[in-house]
Amino acid sequence: MKNSIFATLICGALVCTALAGTASARTDAFDAVVKVIEQHYHVKHKGLPFLARAGMKTAKAAARLAGGQKRRLAEAGSVKVAYFEDQDFVSIAGASDFRKNLKSALLPEWLPFVQVLAPNDEQQTYVFLREAGPKFNLLVVNIDKHEGSVVQVDVSPETLALLLQNPNDIGKAITDDATTTDY
């Protein structure tokens, strides 16, 4: 009898853990990706409050778009940034495991759109994309030797169309846009 109660409790706990994991992945891809980086590389992100200004339409950023247009890429108020500074992005498990973890943290609706890797320089850039009503969510993960960032923004279809012409540069353009202010 004791064994059966114990087994039921264990099963219940496992189901709850699984459900909580699924719910978490569904609710916030940004948080899930930050968590993957923290767990895989044993690093801690910083929240930078001034970056909240990044989504303001009035600001100008040197966004490197096809055609050299200078304007905000992200829609107002849509920017989420997590920054990892002066930390060591070294993992025994390696970058391959990190990519797997990253993809499994995101729902299939996130399209792995661009991936640019320079293993010798320990640089990794991943851009994921998903539809969000009339707009699109872009999730950009940048990992360097000692720095990293996760940026999530909403972009309009017009902006995405411009960015798509030079996909290799999207990660940099979005990250610069979200982390640069030039008042």
Partner: protein, 190 residues
């Protein structure tokens, strides 16, 4: 009896639709060149680029490209009707980091039904460039480029009606590298 034959007709139509749909899906899948077997090269490469642009994104781009700007209008014309652009590129510090078996794993797919290699295609770049077209009846269903240099390996796969001329217009855009492809005559070889 009449009701039965009507039902049979419906079932037959549904079956035909399913078969036709499956055939279309299979065709699209055959046009897509698989490159996951090259994943292991990522660890050896000094730089890798992987771009996946599906039909929806291509059409979105086409929709917002201006017809007034000659450059944009030209790209818009080229991308209209395309169903996918997939690019996989590796750069290495040393030579011979990828093997002939890696090249063969791509070529073997491009020897499949419908694929033809275009001969007399050259590139101003160093190395070897092979261009393949997928022909579905009288229509071009896709294109694949295998570019191999001693320290570089690139696979470009464009799905949809695209010819060599269109490909050259797409170079440098949508993640397609500057392949500097030149064609003296368009000949096909199975």
């Amino acid at each position: 009896m009449k009701l039965l034959s009507h039902t049979n007709l419906k079932i037959a139509s549904l079956f035909a639709a399913v078969v036709f749909g499956s055939a279309i899906t299979a065709m699209a899948q055959d046009t897509r060149v698989q490159t996951s077997q090259l994943d292991y090269l990522t660890a050896k490469a000094s730089s890798t680029v992987d771009v996946n642009i599906d039909e929806r994104l291509i059409q979105l781009t086409a929709k917002f490209l201006s017809t007034k700007n000659p450059d944009e209008a030209s790209v818009k014309e080229v991308v209209n009707g395309l169903k996918g652009i997939y690019v996989r590129s590796f750069e290495f510090e040393k030579e011979n980091e990828y093997s002939l078996a890696d090249l063969e794993s791509i070529r073997s797919q491009l020897r499949g039904p419908g694929w033809s290699r275009i001969v007399n295609v050259s590139s101003r770049k160093e190395g070897n460039v092979e261009v393949y077209l997928m022909i579905n009846g009288s229509q071009i269903g896709g294109l694949a480029v295998l570019a191999s240099e001693p320290k570089e390996l690139t696979v470009v796969n464009v799905i949809g009606p695209v010819d060599l001329e269109k490909l050259t217009k797409l170079e440098g855009q949508f993640g397609i590298p500057e392949l500097e492809i030149e064609s003296s005559k368009t000949k096909r070889k199975n």
